[in-house]
C-alpha cells in the first residue's frame, strides 16, 4: 500500500471538488473493495476522500412513485427495506446473493456499482493487465478463463463485472444521480453507467473525473414476479458463474438482465420481446455475437438453462 492523504468530506460538492483538486484521488465509502486493492497496489490513490459523513443514507419515495436510494445506504439495509422487498424483490434477492453478511453490512449502494473485476490476472501485479496497467496486455486472454466474459469483450480485456446488485438495478431501469466538481448534477441511466472494455478497459464507467454518485433512483414498481438466480460452484460466498435477474409479468412478458457474462450488467431490451417464446429464443438474442473461450463456452447454455428455470418458476 502506498502512502496517501485523507480527508473527510463535509458536503457533496466539496467532495467532488476535492477530487478534482487532487491528481489521483478516490472516494472511499465502505472500502470493502478499494482497501483490498490498495493493499495489493492495484489501486494507488494519493488522496482518499471519505464520503461516509455526507448523509446519503436514506431510502426515500420519489414524486413519481419510485424510491431514491442514498449512495451510502448499506447493502444490508437496502436488502432488508420493506419497500424494496415488497416492490423490488429482485434487488433484495440480488443483494442477498452477494458477498457475506459482514461485507453487506459495510458495502454501500454506490460502491457496489463501482466495484472492480475479480479477474485473477487483474489481481496479480506480476501479470500484464490492460485494466490495471493500460497498454501492458491481457494475461487472461489465452490463459485461465472459466470465469471470464463471453460477450462484449475486446482484444484488450475479457473481464466481467462482479456485482449482483447491478444486475437487478439494470433490470429495474435504475438511474444514477451524481454531482460534479463544479456543483452541477446529472442523471445517468444505469445502462449508460458501465462501459464495455473496448481498447480502454481501465475506464470502466462514464463518470467524469471527480464525479460523485449521490443516489440511485428506482422508477415506480413494475409489478411481476421477481427472481434472481445466481449459479455458482459453492452454495454461498462466491462470485456468479452466471446470474439471471428477471421480472416476469403474468402475460409472459418481462425483463431479464444477466451477470457473469460481460464487462457490465448484460441486458438486451430487444431480446425481451422473445420472452413469451421461452428461454432459448431470449438467449439467442441476448447472447447474439458471443465469443466465448473453450473454458467458458458452457456459460452460453448455462444462461439459457438458468433462464429456462427462472421462467418456469415464474409461471408458478
Amino acid at each position: 500500500m502506498k502512502s496517501f492523504t485523507y480527508e473527510k468530506a463535509n458536503s457533496p460538492a466539496a467532495a467532488a471538488s476535492a477530487a478534482a483538486n487532487h491528481s489521483n484521488a478516490k472516494f472511499i465509502a465502505g472500502g470493502t473493495n478499494l482497501l483490498d486493492l490498495m493493499k495489493l497496489e492495484i489501486e494507488t490513490p494519493a488522496h482518499l476522500i471519505d464520503v461516509n459523513g455526507l448523509g446519503f443514507d436514506k431510502i426515500e419515495p420519489t414524486s413519481d412513485g419510485g424510491l431514491r436510494i442514498g449512495a451510502l445506504v448499506r447493502n444490508t439495509t437496502l436488502a432488508a427495506d420493506a419497500r424494496i422487498r415488497r416492490d423490488y424483490g429482485l434487488l433484495s434477492r440480488a443483494l442477498l446473493a452477494g458477498a457475506s453478511g459482514q461485507l453487506r453490512n459495510r458495502a454501500t449502494t454506490a460502491g457496489n456499482l463501482l466495484q472492480r473485476t475479480r479477474c485473477p490476472y487483474f489481481y496479480d501485479t506480476n501479470q500484464p493487465c490492460n485494466k490495471r496497467k493500460p497498454g501492458s496486455g491481457c494475461a487472461a486472454i489465452g490463459g485461465v478463463t472459466r470465469q471470464h466474459a463471453v460477450i462484449g469483450a475486446s482484444e484488450a480485456c475479457i473481464a466481467t463485472h462482479p456485482s449482483d446488485m447491478a444486475i437487478a438495478m439494470r433490470a429495474l431501469d435504475a438511474t444514477v444521480q451524481t454531482v460534479r466538481p463544479d456543483g452541477s448534477t446529472r442523471d445517468i441511466p444505469i445502462a449508460d453507467l458501465h462501459r464495455l472494455p473496448g481498447d480502454t478497459p481501465h475506464i470502466e464507467t462514464t463518470l467524469s473525473s471527480g464525479e460523485l454518485i449521490t443516489s440511485v433512483t428506482l422508477p415506480k414498481p413494475v409489478g411481476g414476479t421477481h427472481i434472481y438466480r445466481k449459479v455458482r460452484d459453492r452454495a454461498s460466498y462466491a462470485f456468479a458463474l452466471v446470474s439471471v435477474g428477471a421480472i416476469v409479468q403474468r402475460d409472459g412478458t418481462g425483463r431479464v438482465a444477466v451477470g457473469g457474462v460481460a464487462h457490465k450488467p448484460w441486458r438486451v431490451e430487444a431480446a425481451e420481446a422473445e420472452m413469451p417464446r421461452g428461454a432459448k429464443a431470449v438467449t439467442a438474442r441476448l447472447l447474439e455475437g458471443a465469443r466465448p473461450t473453450k473454458e467458458n463456452a458452457f456459460k452460453l447454455s448455462l444462461v439459457e438453462r438458468t433462464l429456462g428455470a427462472v421462467l418456469t418458476e415464474a409461471k408458478g
Binding site: K39, L40, N126, R232, R234, L241, R305, G308, A309
Partner: protein, 735 residues
Amino acid sequence: MKFDTPATTNPIDQLKIIGHATSRIDGPLKATGRATYAYEWHDRAVKPAYGYIVGSAIAKGRIASMDLSRAKAAPGVIAIVTAENAGKLGKGTHNTAKLLGGPEIDHYHQAVAVVVAETFEQARAAAELVQVDYSAAKGSFDLSAGRQSAAEPPGGGVDGQPKTSVGDFAGAYEAAPVQLDATYTTPDQAHAMMEPHASMAAWDGDRLTLWTSNQMIAWTTGDVAKTLGLPKENVRVISPFIGGGFGGKLFLRADAVLAALGARAANRPVKVALQRPLMFNNTTHRPATIQRIRIGADRNGKITAIGHESWSGNLPEGRPETAVNQTRLLYAGENRMTAMRLAMLDLPEGNAMRAPGEAPGMMALEIAMDEMAERLGLDPVEFRARNDTQVDPEHPNRPFSQRQLVECMRIGAERFGWSKRNAEPGRQRDGRWLVGMGMAAAFRNNLLMKSGARVRLDRQGRVTVETDMTDIGTGSYTIIAQTAAEMMGVPLDKVVVRLGDSSFPVSAGSGGQFGANNSTSGVYAACVKLREAVTQKLGFNSADAAFADGQVSSGNRSVPLEQAASDGELVAEDSIEYGDLAKTHQQSTFGAHFVELGVDAATAEIRVRRMLAVCAAGRILNPKTARSQVIGAMTMGVGAALMEDLVVDKRAGFFVNHDLAGYEVPVHADIPHQDTIFLDETDPMSSPMKAKGIAELGICGVAAALANAIYNATGIRVRDYPITLDKLLDHMPNA
C-alpha cells in the same frame, strides 16, 4: 518403552477419562483470544520489526539484476535480505526447492527478498519498490504433456516401492470376463488453512528463538539449523498453537527462514507472516495426478486382476504423490500391479496434504469400484464386500491387525437408508433436483512413529506433560491430558499440557493421522515411568499399586498422590518405540462414506444433502474431538469433489487462483448434515493406547462417494475432479 508385543490390559483400559467425549481443554483460550499464535507473541519481543516477502514474478529462470535502492530509501526500512547478501544457506532435509530463491528461480512466488521495516505497512510498501529484472526460461508446467516423459521415481510408496507386481496381472486382466480400464484425474490442491505461515525470530548472539506455526517441531528445528548453518542446539522452535496446517506446515518454510535472516540483518526481532496471495505458489501443495485403473473380475464379482498406475509431477528432487498406496491393500485379487511415474515440472513444490497418497488415490479407485459394480450388476456395497480380504493381498501370511471394512459398509448402509437408492441412475427427482446416493470405502494406513514425553508431578498433585507434540486444531492437548489423567488417576483439571517447544522431548508430531496414537503412547510411556517413581517414593510395590481418585493404593494402604512429591517434584521421561508388529501385521484404518446429494436439473449445480461416515480405527480416545476431525475431513472431501482446484496457467507456470476468493473451499451452506459412527474397536497391535489414526480416514473416499452419487443422480460419470457443473451441463437431460 519398546512396544514389541501386543498390548495387554493396562491402566488406559479403565476408560475413566479416555474414551469419553471431552471438550477441548484449550477451548476457552481459543474462544477468548488468549491462545497465542505465531504472530502474536507481543510480550516476548519488545518492538519487533516486520518483514514482508517479495515473491518471484517468474516460474523459472534467473534474476538478471536487482535494484534495492528505492526500497532501502523508503520510510522505516531497516534491512533487505536477498540470496546475494544472506550469506551461505543450506537446504532443509524436508525441502525440495530453496526457501530463498536467486539467482536461479525454481518456481513462481519463490521468495527472492524480505524487506524489514519498523512497521508492517512500511515493509509492505517498500517491498513493492524492490526492482527485480528476470531472465525467464522455458519451463514444464503441464502434467498431461509431461506424462510421456515421466520416469520411475527413486522412492515413494508405503515402502518406497515405485512399482509392485503380484501374480500375472496382464494375463488375468486379459482373461477376465468383466473388465474396467478407466483414467481419472485429480487437480493440484492447496491446504488453504486459515492461519498463514507466520514466524517471529529473535537472536541472542548465535542462538535463535523462533516462534512459528509448525506441525513438526523436531524436523523444523533440524532444518532451521541446516539451512542457517547453526548447531541444532542453538535453535529453539516454539509453536504451541497452530491455526490449521493440513500438511502445509510440516516443514520449515520461507516465513521462518526469512524472519531469522531478517532478524540477523536488522539486529532485532522480526515477524514475518506470509501474505495470503503468496501462500498458494510460495509453499507446498498436493500435486495433480493422472491415474489409470484396470480391474478384471469374474461374473460373480470376484476381482481377479487389479492394477493402478499414477502419474504426478514435481520439481527435481521432489517425490511423487503416492496415489496407488491403498490399491495394494484394500481389495483382494490374486493378480495385481501398481506403478508410479514422476514428471519433472517447474510448478511449486508438491508435498503432503490432507492424507497424501490415499486421498487422491481413493478419489480414483472408489469411482472405479462403483463403475465395476455397475458392470457386474452388483450393489456397490456387495461388490466391495465380496472382495474383502483379512490379509495383506501381496503377502497372504500377513494379516490385518483389525479390519472391519465390511462392518462399516453394512452398518452405514443400514443407518443411511442405502436400500432406498435406485440403482438405475437419473430416476430420483425432488422438485428441481435430481437426487442421488453414493458410497465409497474409506481407507488410510496407520503409521507408527517414535514419540517421547516428559511428565512432572508437583506437590499439589498436579501432573504436567511436556512434549514437542503439536495441536494443529486437532485436540492433541485434550487427548494428552486425558491420557495423563487416566494413567496417574487424577481428574482432567489436575493435568497441565505443554506442547510445541523444541526444548521438550521429541514427539511424533502432527501429520499423516499419526499424531494421536503415537503422541499419547509416548505420554503413556512417560507416565509408566512416573508411576514407578511414585510407587518407589511411597514404598509401594509398583506392580500392584492402583492410581485412582488422586490416591495411590495397594491392599489397605492408600496415600495421596501428591505426597510422592512432598520433598520435590518427580520427573519422568520416556518414548514409545515400536518393534516389528507393523511388519507382522498390516495396520490400517477402515470406514465407509455415504452421501446423498441433489443436482439442479437446470443448472447442474451440485448440493450435498447429507453425509455419513462409519469408521473403524481402533480405540477412539475422545469421541468429541474425533468426530470433529472426521466431519472436518468429510468437508474437505466435499471440497475435493466439487470445487478445490489450483488452476495452472500453463504458459507462465503458476497457480492462477492464488487467494481465498479464487480457491474455493466449502462454506457452511455447502455442508447441511453430517453424521459419524465409530465402531467399537481396540487394536492391541497398534500401541498401548490400542488406538489408531482417525482424522485422515475421514477424507479418504469422500470425494468418490460424491462422484458416485452424482452419477446415481444424473447418469453422468465424471472422472476428472473437481466435478463442476460445466462438466455435467452438456450431458444433462433437458430441464
